[in-house]
């Protein structure tokens, strides 16, 4: 059971996201500390709902995925699959009374590529209002 005073975002992102190399990742971890756990992946299509669920179960108050723009996935369909799997995960957690908004996906823009740091900032802002997950901080008594 977690007694932390901060919320943790688990972020899985495609390695194709602009400015998402190792140096950028380390800089983000230095900036946000324990508030973020970053997981670069070769393609957002590699993710399965079980990865998102395990993150929520073990340490994350929210889990987000960043995928490539439609038509721009280097493996053609990975981003489409990621979108469907995120939705499936949202349905599953809604079924146990956990807020759907704790899982989300951000799809990159082909016309206006946004670097990872900006996406992280926006996602952190979006999820900050959710508060600690009831999974990690269960009802007392």
């Amino acid at each position: 059971m977690s007694d932390k005073d901060h919320c943790t975002l688990a972020l899985f992102y495609c390695q194709n996201v602009p400015e998402s190399g190792e140096a950028e990742r380390q800089a983000l971890e230095k900036t946000y500390g324990l508030q973020i756990r970053l997981f670069p992946i070769p393609c957002s299509g590699r993710l399965e709902p079980v990865h998102l669920l395990k993150a929520l179960e073990e340490f994350a108050d929210a889990v987000y995925v960043i995928s490539c723009p439609e038509g721009a996935c280097r493996y053609f369909e990975g981003n489409y699959r990621a979108k469907k799997r995120v939705e499936r995960t949202r349905e599953i957690i809604a079924g146990i009374g956990l807020e759907r908004e704790r899982v989300g996906i951000v799809i990159g823009s082909k016309d206006n590529p946004i670097p990872l740091s900006d996406l992280v900032r926006d996602i952190m802002a979006k999820t900050s209002g959710l508060g600690p997950s009831p999974v990690l901080k269960p009802a007392s008594g």
């Binding site: 179960e57 599953i92 079924g95 146990i96 009374g97 009831p134 999974v135 269960p138 007392s140």
Partner: protein
Amino acid sequence: MITAEQKPIAEIRGMITPYKRVLVLGCASCVAECAAGGREETAMLASTLRMKAKMNGEDVVIEEHTLDRQCVNDFVVLLDDIIEPYDAILSLGCGAGVQAVQAMYQEIPVIPALNTEFIGETKAQGLWVENCLGCGDCMLYYFGGVCPLARCAKQLFNGPCGGSVDGRCEINPEIDCAWQIVIDRLTKFGALDRLEMIYPPKNWSKKQGGGPRKIVREDQQK
């Protein structure tokens, strides 16, 4: 393959509530193919149940394991090494698997997490369709590889009903008219004369009415 779908989570929780140490048991065969009870689905369900338990402050241990098959005792017996700590098994096997595991471990309740549905095929990714009723008297040869029992909504044996529209069933327009496919197929094979025979009503005693069926092959036994 046998297909199944997971029961609603509320129903599953209702059944496992009395137990404090639950083994969520997957099956890597048919139910894995239909994305209902394989290794991944087992991990998902176990994680979901654990999260709900944490949210409620419930003192329960939920762990997972997956067998290659739950319907073959040679695989089920592998649970001997791990089963001792648990007071219930939540099985993601089909009905055959649930019962096989229960028969092997009669002291521990084995609870079904899935609703077993039909014998069918993976038609496309994420799409499974019924195509066999297990009638025990296969007549697919006569109908060009199309089963009128499983695929005709009226289960007609002796020709189409005449109600189909654009090759779709008049009862359920979402499905193809099986008899359209039969005729197209037998035409392609040059075997339309098979439809000149009159097929008598199905002998259902080969499927049901005598309790559970069995097959014995002494040449396969020890």
